[in-house]
Symmetry: C2
């Protein structure tokens, strides 16, 4: 069996923890399996380097940032290889370049274009444990590129795909994906398995555990993904293809996103392309729009609402003022949050959304916006009721059972 | 004019100091000159990484060490480039690979085999300031190699040679080469210029300022080398070809080496190859032998003496015991030091050595061993007289004038 492990920053935060990782990796090899390990920078290192760069300017050149930031993962890879060799294992450390990872030219947020696994495969054939510096590759000119925050997850999934690994285990300080944030609801339960799509919809739950782009890539490449903790021997959560078993579960998790501000436009002029114009302007200004809802009132006038991250609220507000001739009125509300109910079971079971609305109504929580997808119901409510809503929904869907 | 600068670890020890270096580099560009800058790792970084590795083993794999240690210089190169760009200068950071530095396969102590300066030359032609991560290159397989301690000096000299730069300035926290260690003799004077060969003989004086291999390479490639301080605007010392002017100066400097232990073998058996055998055994055990003297006594028996670093004294002692059948007696003395007088003027002036002997005799200092080269006289004396001897010699040769 060929297994890919990926260890995040806290899992390799100091030499003792790197030693711990070496022991875990050694155990896999002892069991007769082949293993490729992808590592992040030691926790704190990347932030330290960014701080250094920001001493000089808020907009450092991206090519230079890639040369700067890619160094942290190389350090960890070399150290883990040294740790394994010290235990008598045959290990080899590789950079992104060495592992054959070719990306496009988008420095600091590159996409992996191809992987030439030859060097890794040869090392594996020789019985070596292969350690790869995550988060990085090279473009066609041979310049170092990086894959964006959390990019080591992406490296791991891409390598697992290229090597046709049997599974890819992502290690962090969290031992899996939970039905909701345990800090809000102590009865939150760890999920044994979850589908790629549910995982994507739960991204704000899983952001610390697993980067969204990696889940998308795992889905595309059919990589069996596990979220596990490097500090325990717990089973973790398997993220995989949807199957019939899964559809029996109505709801997998509920999730709270407090970083939301609501913008409501009343009486938008009925002119073709006005919505397109508004959202193009927001996109050009790099304002991230999350939910969008629109409906036509009894009097034929259009009401348009959307949410943005709270930090971009002022910016969005200013921009809307430029549309004063096209809009009757604008409401803003920073004190909102979004609660979402996620589950593939929704596809085959009706009533999931209705239950959510009823539960919030029973708690006297007013729903300001609703949007639904095939496997998710999201509701914008007053920020102060966020935790209450999560606990009520968690109980209503019996997620603690 | 094309100038190469090299900044050592203390000169780039934190972001403020990197900013200071950026200002110095900018000044060169402002004057209309082209500049290539080679940088070391921020001071402390390399030692920190070595400590990490030694947590796991005392003999980490050299290939892994190269991947580990080469990261520090990359960080500095990227940061200096960012600092210059923030000031509005066009700069580009390059790794050893990017700068075209190809080495042999000797990981952690590689030799530069060739340099393809095309990428640097193109950047220079575009008016860019080129920043190169020192201390590193790649071997023919594309693996990262490093050049050994102080290797950034070597990078700088090699790049200056490949680019046919007009001069190569090595910046540290010391503003040049002195006639002797100013901590021993406060009247020590900074030398305006010194020959490559003198610099090599004074290496223990200059070790902190300039790595010996770099001086040898500069001599071979005819690179005009300057030792300067990044913390002042002092002129520094020019290290260059010998010329007639220099020969007028009898002695350039006197230097004390306290890290010496003396081994004296009495009555070495008169058997062919015995000396070769002794020194081969010492070399195989990686014991660094410095001075070697041999003379035949009145009775035809041979006395052989040599010095080793104090840390290797016990090791050498044990080894000599294995020769008990070939040697009548062995004396060891850890409490010795070596004082040396260096100057190209010796080549054309006699009496330099005689003066040294007389000066020490006048101070009642007994000379235990003497060895001379074309431009150096070295004497082993009791360790406790080291500083006294240096001061007396410094005055006798009028080095304070």
């Amino acid at each position: 069996m060929l297994i890919v492990h990926k260890y995040g920053g806290t899992s390799v935060g100091d030499v003792e923890r790197i030693e711990n990782v070496a022991n875990r990796v050694a155990k896999v090899r002892d069991a007769g399996d082949h293993i490729v390990v992808v590592v992040s920078a030691m926790s704190g290192e990347t932030n330290k380097l960014i701080e250094y760069a920001e001493y000089f300017t808020n907009e450092p050149a991206k090519k230079e940032m890639d040369m700067l930031l890619s160094s942290g993962e190389r350090v960890t890879a070399a150290l883990l290889s040294i740790a394994l060799q010290a235990k008598g294992y045959d290990a080899v450390a590789m950079t992104g370049r060495g592992a054959g990872i070719i990306t496009d030219d988008t420095h600091t947020y590159a996409r992996i274009e191809s992987i030439d696994p030859t060097a890794m495969q040869e090392a594996i054939k020789e019985g070596k444990i292969v350690i790869v510096a995550g988060f990085q590759g090279v473009n066609k000119d041979g310049s170092i590129t990086t894959l964006g925050r959390g990019g080591s997850d992406l490296s791991a999934v891409a390598l697992a795909g290229a090597l046709k690994a049997n599974k890819c285990e992502i290690y962090s300080d969290v031992d899996g994906i939970y039905t909701t944030d345990p800090r809000i609801e102590p009865n939150a339960k760890k999920l044994e398995r979850i589908s790629y799509d549910e995982m994507l919809e739960l991204s704000s739950l899983g952001a610390k555990v697993l980067q969204s782009r990696s889940v998308e890539l795992a889905k595309k490449l059919h990589v069996k993904l596990y979220a596990k903790s490097s500090f325990s021997d717990n089973e973790g959560t398997l993220i995989t293809q949807e199957n019939e078993n899964m559809e029996e579960v109505l709801v997998s998790g509920v999730v709270l996103d407090k970083n939301q501000a609501r913008v409501s436009l009343r009486g938008v002029l009925d002119r073709p392309g006005i919505a397109a114009e508004i959202f193009t302007r927001l996109a050009d200004a790099h304002i991230n729009v999350d939910m969008i809802i629109q409906n036509v009132g009894m009097d034929g006038s259009t009401n348009l609402g959307f949410t943005v991250p709270q930090s971009e609220h002022q910016h969005a507000k200013k921009m809307m003022e430029t549309f004063e001739h096209d809009i009757q009125g604008v409401d803003f509300d920073e004190n909102v949050c979004k609660v979402s109910v996620v589950g593939v079971g929704m596809k085959s079971h009706s009533g999931v959304a209705a239950t959510a609305f009823r539960v919030l109504a029973d708690s006297n929580i007013n729903i300001q916006m609703i949007s639904t997808s095939e496997i998710k119901v999201s509701m914008v409510i007053d920020e102060k009721y966020g935790e209450l809503a999560i606990r009520a929904l968690h109980e209503a869907y019996e997620l603690d059972k």
